[in-house]
């Protein structure tokens, strides 16, 4: 990897943090001008591959250099906007780049099936804007800039969710509700940032972090903290602020769901970690209280209640969406444990969840492309009709439950260990309870797929079908990753441990 990075021309290497955001933004305009969806897809693929390579080189740089600072336009902070990449956002960058690329490869057949031909190029354009926004949130070191990127990604997300209306009109109301709640969340966040600016006089996160410890008694800072937690909690779909998520995931185009489920809420979770541990500091009384009373409690309630809700869904994607809310609960629990081990476990679950939910939603999309199914009862007998896709779905489903031999096991293992270090046996009990409920809802789908009889066609035979290779490829990459990282967990664990360490060492230079 170092060799690959050394091949890059110098200006590209120096300005990589800026180019990685600007490329998808510019390419979005080009994609919008493309005459048909296929060309739009090619433009999107080229720019995600290029962005992925840049992300890879940045991650390699972070591992050797520790922290990368980049002053936008040569204006040094506090006057200018600073991009700042350390081990914590490197993990996010890896997730966004990898899952973004896999989703784009997957997109061509899925989008061709679900979006009207005349709008496909515009759809890819919206995706690229969203992608640029997410990358921007992940690497910026400026609080207000983070708000802008958050909104860039959110606004294009509303558009993409709404485009599911070609298949199901409920996508429109889902997108509208998402827009209202998402905007309220973003506005809460920006109010909080405004308060922090009042108190510290800077928008640079490192600058804020260095001045805030003297102001821990200030009501302004405490109010800022509350506003920011609520705002980012809404974006991250933290229980009970998750109400926008189930419908948005259920009615959006399949490709959008698999991309959003793997990246958007993850990025919001990262911003929470960044603000809790770096901008604010974990020893502050109001932050320390929030670990237990907000994140641990709400995380546990979320992971049990949302799992129970998932069991009673008819719509397959809605079921997985509720499961996503529950999984956010796991991450929040990791955050609430408040130790380096807890944050590391939360980040590990973030990466793992991206792999399993990505595969699950992609498999559902593959079923939908061939047979247009949505409901769980329609999954009957898919083990015989589409065996390859069903097998990948099964692997990812088992991983979601946390069965050994899949990567989901490590998430729960490390979360449990971190909780026990704090003496939180009840958190472990909730973890096991929630996993058992996950067994119920995943089991329901697997039972339909493998045990029910497939519907017979007129001649009495069974329809056989194979998803397009472009869909099967990314799906199986993720499914195999779910198994591979169980046997080779060191890579992921060293990444997330470094991330937790970076979170605890703060953003000051």
């Amino acid at each position: 990897m170092e060799f690959l990075a050394s091949l890059m021309p110098l200006p590209l290497a120096v300005h990589a943090p800026a180019i990685i955001v600007v490329t998808p933004l510019l390419m979005a305009a080009i994609a919008a001008l493309m005459p048909n969806g296929r060309l739009g897809w090619v433009v999107t693929l080229v720019s995600t591959v290029f962005t992925g390579l840049l992300a890879l080189s940045l991650i390699v740089d972070v591992q050797s250099a520790g922290v990368i600072f980049y002053a936008m336009g040569g204006w040094a902070p506090p006057a200018g906007i600073e991009f700042r990449i350390d081990a914590l956002n490197a993990v996010l960058l890896l997730v966004i780049a990898a899952l973004g690329l896999l989703s784009v490869i997957y997109a061509l057949p899925s989008v061709a099936d679900e979006i009207a031909e005349g709008r496909q190029a515009l759809f890819y354009s919206a995706f690229l804007v969203c992608f640029a926004g997410l990358v921007g949130v992940a690497i910026t070191g400026d609080a207000f800039n983070m708000f802008v990127f958050l909104e860039i990604s959110s606004i294009s997300t509303y558009v993409m969710v709404g485009m599911g209306a070609d298949k199901d009109r409920r996508a429109l109301t889902a997108a509208y509700n998402y827009l209202v709640l998402g905007t309220i969340g973003a506005t809460f966040f920006v109010i909080g940032v405004g308060f922090l600016y009042m108190a510290t006089g800077t928008l640079n996160m490192a600058g804020m972090a260095s001045r805030l410890p003297d102001l821990s008694d200030s009501r302004v800072v405490q109010a800022a903290f509350a506003f920011i937690i609520v705002g980012l909690g809404l974006k991250a779909a933290m229980f009970p602020l998750h109400l926008w998520l189930p419908n948005a995931y259920a009615y959006a185009p399949n490709f959008v769901t698999s991309f959003l489920a793997t990246t958007a809420t993850k990025v919001a979770f990262y911003t929470l970690v960044r603000f809790l541990f770096d901008v604010f500091w974990p020893e502050a009384p109001f932050v320390a209280i929030s670990f237990f009373w907000v994140f641990a409690i709400l995380g546990i309630i979320g992971m049990v209640v949302a799992s129970v809700q998932a069991v009673f869904q008819d719509d397959a994607r809605r079921l997985l969406a509720f499961s996503s809310v529950a999984q956010v609960g796991y991450m929040m629990l990791g955050l609430g444990i408040g130790t380096a081990a807890g944050v590391s476990a939360g980040m590990l679950h973030l990466v793992n969840h991206a792999m399993m939910k990505g595969a699950l939603f992609m498999a559902l999309g593959a079923f939908a492309v061939r047979f247009g199914i949505r409901r769980i009862s329609d999954l009957n007998g898919f083990g015989q009709t589409m065996p390859l896709t069903s097998a990948a779905f099964t692997i990812a489903g088992l991983s979601l439950i946390g069965v050994p031999m899949t990567v989901g096991f490590w998430s729960k293992w490390y979360l449990g260990v971190a909780a026990l270090e704090n003496g939180w046996w009840w958190a472990v009990a909730a973890l096991i309870l929630s996993s058992l409920i996950a067994l119920a809802y995943i089991g329901r789908m697997l039972a339909a797929i493998w045990m029910a009889e497939p519907p017979h066609d007129k001649t009495g035979g069974i329809a056989h079908a194979r998803a397009p290779w472009l869909m099967l490829g990314p799906l199986w990459v993720l499914a195999i990753a779910n198994i591979w990282f169980f046997f080779q967990p060191d890579f992921l664990i060293s990444l997330t441990n470094a991330a937790a360490e970076a979170a605890f060492s703060g953003v000051t230079r």
Binding site: F144, I155, G162, L172, Y176, A186, I191, G194, M198
Partner: protein, 164 residues
């Protein structure tokens, strides 16, 4: 108490606007009215930021040389009196560097929040545009923009599909 409130009347207006907007979002079932409330809510935040930027007695952050040539506003006049060397600078042929030094002595409002709010206004307009576009599509598809009627339409459609 009244004095305390009078000193902070900007903030009071901000809070009233904020709560009005948020209440409108929650209380109404009409999708357009809900967007109006949302805009009001966002606008209150713009006012909050602008309030932060105000420095009492401050003038617009423009170099004295240039502010003279623009005819000098009311705010400019008081500031000119405060920074008399600035006036001289405008008369004589003084280098820009010195003019800059003079500005440092004058009191001026913080320009940064204004710049931030310009960005936030753009974000707000984009959100509103997407929101209204969605409402248009909803109206085309469902024939109504009342929340309750939309829910009923979806519910009826779901029931019809189940019995079919």
């Amino acid at each position: 108490m009244i004095e305390l409130l009078a000193e902070r009347f900007n903030y009071i207006i901000v809070i009233i606007l904020m709560m009005t907007g948020l209440y409108a979002v929650v209380a109404t079932g009409n999708l357009v009215k809900r967007l109006v409330g949302l805009s009001l809510f966002q606008t209150s935040v713009f006012l909050l930021y602008i309030t932060i930027g105000k420095v009492s007695g401050g003038q617009p952050p423009i170099l004295p040389e240039y502010s003279e040539s623009y005819g000098g506003s009311n705010a400019g006049e008081t500031a000119m009196a405060a920074a008399s060397p600035a006036a001289e600078a405008a008369e004589g042929a003084v280098s820009q560097g010195e003019a800059l030094q003079n500005t440092a002595e004058a009191i001026y409002s913080n320009p940064l929040p204004h710049v931030l709010i310009l960005t936030a206004i753009v974000v707000g307009v984009a959100t509103l545009a997407v929101g209204l576009a969605l409402v248009v599509r909803i109206r085309e598809t469902y024939g109504t923009i009342e929340d309750e009627a939309l829910n009923q339409a979806d519910y009826a459609a779901e029931n019809a599909r189940r019995s079919a």
